[in-house]
Symmetry: C2
Subunit: 137 residues, 2 copies
DNA sequence: TGTTTTATGCAACATTGTTTCATTTGGTAA
DNA sequence: TTACCAAATGAAACAATGTTGCATAAAACA
């Protein structure tokens, strides 16, 4: 798994550093979207500013995307490979569990094709589901 | 318009106070969803804690609902009358303008009927559109 | 009017987001 | 391998937002 973390960094032409590799490993081993706080919990010790910038860089470079879940916290999830710099293409739905607060990507559910109101220019659409996840039911 | 603000308070069995009436007036005169910061800007002077609690109370009582727009800030919009205490029923889409940052309710666009993944229990669904609004085009 | 209940305002604090700057490290070319 | 340059890191500091406790003020109601 460490190998694929380094692969991802190489693919996106990002420098290989310990923090970045570890952050990617955490994402690779997680089925749900993670907040910065979630990620910090996986580290023994990490500078939160570095982590903040790591996530920001990853998001800009198309490595991770924001998982909009209607919750308070900003969460990220790994992009599936269709994303590139400044051109995210993660139009799948996200499921937010009201019990445990976790957010899951639902890869096979895509946002519906909708038409923006007249005069509006649509660029992206998100579909957010809320309820109770399989483990909390 | 002050009359209807007081009407709303009465309907929800909330005490009529100056701050609450004024907050409702602001919502009644606004076509877009408002963050706490937006609301503060309409006041000459207001205690931000009071405002925070006013919004929280309104949300709990079904007067306003959170407008999930995928942006950083939490925004609220007036409920249309189908909401009650702890039972929000605002399943219309929200449009977030990337230019001006404003969020509009699209009353006539409803979230699609979706089926949660097996094992998951769906309670609500949100549809968020992003792009450029009519005035920013 | 007086009593009870609730809202307000203030203080204080936690969390998150963000920038600046000096230092360290990774990548690369000599 | 070494040396250099660009980029990443870590520390400090600050802004904005979210949140609670408590004393006081105001609303609701008898």
């Amino acid at each position: 798994m460490t190998a694929s973390a380094l692969d991802i960094l190489a693919q996106h032409k990002l420098r290989k550093t310990a923090v970045r590799a570890q952050v990617l490993d955490i994402f690779l081993n997680s089925r749900e979207a993670l907040s910065q706080n979630d990620i910090e919990a996986h580290f023994n010790q990490v500078d939160r500013i570095t982590l903040y910038r790591t996530l920001k860089t990853f998001e800009e470079k198309g490595v991770i995307h924001k998982a909009i879940d209607g919750g308070e916290k900003l969460k990220y999830a790994l992009c599936l490979g269709h994303c590139s710099e400044h051109a995210h293409d993660d139009h799948h739905a996200h499921f937010h569990c009201d019990q445990c607060g976790k957010t899951f990507c639902i890869e096979n559910m895509h946002t519906p094709v909708v038409q923006a109101p007249s005069g509006y220019l649509l660029s992206e659409a998100y579909l957010v589901l809320k309820g109770t996840c399989a483990t909390c039911v």
